[in-house]
Structures are given as C-alpha cells and as structure tokens.
Amino acid sequence: MSRLLRVLLLLILVLAFVVLLPWQWYPREWRVWYADNFGASGFRQQAETIPATVSENVEEACPPDIRGWRKSQSIAGVDIAASPNCLADNPHAVAAFVKGTNNVGHMTLMDARLSPDAVVKGRDLDGDGDPDEIHIRLEVFELNGASPDLDVPVTQYSIAPGVTPGLWVFAPKSAGMSTENFESLLAQPGLRLPSPAIRVEQGDKVIVTLENTHYMPHTIHFHGVDHPFMTANGGGNDGVPVASEKPVMPGKQRSYEMQPRQTGTMFYHCHVEVQAHVLMGLNGLFVVEENRPNNWVQTFNIGDGFVRHSSVAVKEKYDREYDLHYLDLDKELGEKIQQSNDPRIVTQLINRDYNISQADFEYYTLNGRSFPYTARDSLIVTAPDELVKLRVVNGGSEGVALHTHGHKVTITHYDGVEHPKPSRITRDVVWIASAQRVDLELSTENDGLHSYGEGVWLLHDHQERGVTTNGFGPGGNVSAIVYERYLQDDGWPMTFGMSWNNYLTSGFYQRQDDGSGVTPLLPGVEKSGPSVLRLVILTALAGLFVGLVAGWLWRVRPRG
C-alpha cells in the first residue's frame, strides 16, 4: 500500500470518528460556533411510545358474600346489624363475642372457629342484666412468616394486592387450623391485621390471658386502661419486661387482671422489644364502655371497622360506630421474619440487626389493609342526618393527619377522656400522634359545615406518603365516607373517575431491584438502540485506527 493511500485511509477513519462521536461530547463552545456558522441539525424522530398495558389478572374488587355474612341476622339470641361493607365480620363470631363463647352452641363456635374458652362471660355482679366477669384469652399469630420448604410466605395475609409483609397479631383463642383449609396457604378470616379491638364494660372484672402460641416472647401492656401494677397474687400486671415482669415465653401463658373505673377508647400492645414488636402489628384498641343495664358488649371487633353490635351507651347517642386503626409498617422489618426459619437467627435479626433509627416506612394501613382493599371492609358508610362515632387510634410510629373530604368532624375525646363541650374543636384535619386515640363525631347534617351533602368522600392521612403503598399511589390508608345512595348492592362504592383495575393487580405495588415498578401499566418509551450501535462502531473504528498506526510504526522500525 502506498504511503498516500495509507494516509488517506487514516484521514477517512478520523473523519468517520469525528462525525460519529455524539454531538454532546464536544465542548459547548465548539458546538455553538458550529451552529452559528452552519445552523441547527436536522429533526430526529424520538423513540416509539409503548402503549399502556391492559393489566391482566385483575382481582375481583368485591368477592361475593356466599356465606351470607353481610345481612342483618340474629344468632344465639344476639341481634347483629347488617354490615354495609363488601366484606363483613363473621356474624357467628360476633354472636359468640357478645354472649361469651361459653354461652353459645357448638355449631356457632364451629362457624366462628373459636375455642370454647376464648371469651368466658361469668356472673352479673351488679344485677343489671349483663355479665361483669369477663375472661378473655388471646393468642399470638405470625402472618406471612417463613417456611423451611416453601419460598412464599405462609399463613398468608395480603394488606393490598400482592403485598404480604411479615406480621405478628393478637387474636382471640381460636380452634383448629390457622389457614382456610389444608390445601390453602391463606390465613383464616379471624386471623388478620390489626390486632382486634377489645370491648369491656366499665367496672367489669376482666382477666386477659395471653397464651403465647408464637415462637418469640411477648407480653401485653394495657395502655390507658385502669389496671393495678401487680395482680392480686403479686404477679406482674403492667406487661413491661424491664419493670414489672419477665416476658411470656413460647408455649406459656400469663393472666392480666383489671377492673377499669374509667371509660374511654384505650390501647393495648406487646411491650417486648417495642421498637419491633409493636410495629409488627401487636397493638390494638381497648374500649371501656359506659356501664348500662343489659349492656352486652361485643368483646372483640375482628379487623376493627364497623361495630355490628354497639354498646347501649353508644346506641343512645349515635346511629353507627366504627373503629379505625391506623398503622405504618416497615417492609424491611417484616422481611426479617421471612429471611430465616431459625428462631435464634430471627431473634438476632429483630433485636440486634433491625435499626429503627434508620428505618423508613413503606406501608400505611387502615384496619390492616391498604387501598384498594380498604374499600372492601373499611368504608365509613352513612346516610344523611346521622351521627356516627369514630374511635381512632394510631398504632404506628409516625403521626396521622386524618383528613375528611366533604366533612368537618368534632373531637369529643382525647385518649379516652371527654373534652368539655364548649371547647370542642370541629375541623377537617385531625392530628393523631403515635399511640394516641381520638373519638370523633361525624355529623352528616348537610349544613355546609359538618357535611357538604351526599357522595363518596375520601378519608385519608394527608401526609402524602400515607396515601402510598411501597411508594406507589393511590395506596396506603385511603378510604372513604360513602353515603348509602352511593353504595352498590354488594357494598362497593360507586365511583365516577378512573378505573381501579390497575390497583387490583398484584404487580402494581411491586418494585424491581433497581427501584422501578414491576408492571409497565402506564405509557412508556422504547429504549433507543442507535446510540449503543454508534458507540460500538466508534470503538471498532478506534481499534482499527490504533491498529493501523501501530502497523505503520512497526514497519518504520523493524526488528533485527
């Protein structure tokens, strides 16, 4: 090859390199100079739009009520109100909680899946027609826990489609399996988040026995409930491992005693390693109802929400009563129990590895569910000109700025203590600190203040992360105040906005390792290919260029 040809080839290579080098890689001044002299480059079509995917496997929004749990009914002589929501509480369990599991028939207990000694109601001490000796038995259940043989969580409970964080909950002592049946991995309906609201009557002699069915030690602390520090026979009664008693070990039990003199919406929670145990779900409402004649209270409200058998005092003033339990969950904490099947390692992970001071919270639940599942069992259903009582607790570690669309609510009680009427506050954002309770009065009088009229009015935490699940919205603790006119027959709200189908697919709230969403439900952009090809050509050219130069140098100074 002649020298001229070689130089020409090199020049062509350099030119190709210069042209192919991405425009943005040149210094800005050079580009400005070029554009000033030769004008802008030609129009380049952008990458194609990927159309939004129609999500597959959309879950049924409202599963049919095949067992007839929603309708108003009378079981074992207990009148149980119709449940307006799509998923209703098991009426057999409600009846057993009102009468006492010792006072209902075998069939009711079987349908309720309760142990005969779950709620034992004894003598009427004040002769006013209702029992005043109440013995409650609580067990501890792990939901979405580890298995040595399966790589999916067992005793499954989803807070939202496809979202199964590891959880611990208290539940009334049950009978039989923890799953729906042997073939199923799903938890039976009585085992769920939150730990259930407990109701007793003022002055009742209450014994709460903790039967620790879990593999970790636990206790119960009755926060705000009038209880002595020690039991009658000198046992610890405050539930605090560093102050009153040793924790209840796996397979063991302990009884707590109390006779509450004051009424109000209180709280109970496990006091072992509270930075983890409380936030795993071991906390719930504890309501002391006013003493009234013939006041058979519903000892447990499974899953909180609508109270199907309200106390006499509540019925005197209110048309309906709802328990609202807010909780934020740390995904990483829940994963600790799924990472190992060895209780010793789980203990290490929970007590020593988990660092709450570095934690962020991914899941925000109302009554143990996040949107859209909240619409299944936690809508506040009402009608015009009603008074509705809301008992609200924040079981989580962050505050809740509870906002009611279309309504201003009145705060009647703080931490179970009645607020004097003249100084009561009516507002549309109610701040609830951790462990705090507020009793709210929701009036549906259409006066432009308490209510702006009928509709589907959202009810949610106005700290915006509270309306997300794993950072995706809408999710979190979004629910709604729904007027009966806007409720469909199956209990699902009539909505006039966007379809909820995407939110009812299991991929919507999942993230990939890089943090992006799993499902391409929204329109996207095709990844552009040419730039990669261009870089490859550039690299090839550079290689050829170096090779030619090296060959030329080799020739000039040959060895030997």
């Binding site: 005969p116 259940f141 298995s147 790589d151 009978a175 039989g176 070990m249 397979g251 063991k252 010793r344």
Partner: protein
Amino acid sequence: MVKIQVVLFLMGLLLVAVNPVHGADEHHHHHHQMPGMSMDDTGMVMGNNKSTLPDDCKEITGEYEINVQAGTSYTKSYMSTMFGYSEHEWRVEPCSRITVNFKNEDDVRHQWMLHGLPKYLYDRGMFHMEASGGHAQTGVFIVPSDNKTYLVHCDIAQHMEKGMKAQLIVGSGSGDLWSIPGVSADFERPSGIVFKNPVFVVLLVGLVFMVVFVLGFRFFRI
C-alpha cells in the same frame, strides 16, 4: 410382637372407653356434627374411626398405639426448632388401626393432624386432634393398604415450620417428607452463610481454581 400389640390395643380400648370425650357421653358433645367429631374445653378430635375399614382393606391387620407428647421441651435435640413432638416418625403396617394418645405439655394449644387419608372415609382426608394447654386427647383411625408416608403436623401458624412436623410411614412408605426434625433436611433453606450467597460461592470457587492453576503451571514448568 403380636402379643404386645394386642396388649397395647386393649390398653388403648380402655383409654378410649374411660376418656369422657370419646366415651359413653360422646353424643352429648356433638349432637349435630359429622361422625367421629368431638369438641370441648380440652380440645377436639375429628375423623375418629374405630371400625370402618377403608375400601381396600379386608380386615384390620395390625394394632398400634402411639403415645406422643407435644411441647417446647421436645426441641432440645433439634437446634432451630421451637415447638416439637416427643417423636417425629412412626412406622405401621398397611390396614392398621392406630390409637393415638396425644398429651400437650405446653400451656397453649397444640395439634396432631394427619393428612392424606381417603376422603370418602375421613372429612377432607384428615384425622385431627387438638389438645388445649395441659390436656390430652385420644383418637383412633385406620389406614388404607397402600404404602404411603403421611404428614403429621400442628397447623397453628408457624408451629409446623418451627418443628411440629412428623411422619407416619405405612408399610414401606413413599419416601421421607422434607424438614422433619431428626429425619430430613429443609427443602428450601440451605444452612450456613456460604450457601446462602451464590456470589460468595462463585468467588471462592474461582479463587481456589486460580491458586491451584498457578501452582500447577509453575510446578510443570520447572
């Protein structure tokens, strides 16, 4: 052997007869439920079957009595478990009648549930005993003729996962089940740090290979 079995059987019968749950007042407890079911404060038994033969058995060919205790104290031999049975494996002959005396030594509920029995004879193919804390239950069932390994476990959340898992081997069985304490390994969870992290394994294997390769290369060059 047969003598012992007969004696055990008689003892079992005695136990069954004396135990109020299954004795004369059995009907007092379950006026409306399926046969073989009883329930009270001490627990329950489902699928109790003393006499009905499975279709493939002409007669009862063996009598066995299983005395099993349950509780947190039976986990000492098996690190990483929290709940356990006094034994985790039993062997019986096909078409045997088995009496199980189940004693719960904890203060909370436990179960001894056996799955996979013929569904025409046992509701949902299940023989199920649940004993409240500190209580005992006794139940009887008859196994069919095929060689099969049956799962026995406690279905309270996490009790099986944390050790309350056992197997009943009928005849020659159909192979061990996974994660039975003292019998078989976990199916899904390898033990030890190395095997939990594939990157670690690849790096370690790569390092060992390179060291040996270099050593070998040098050795053969000299």
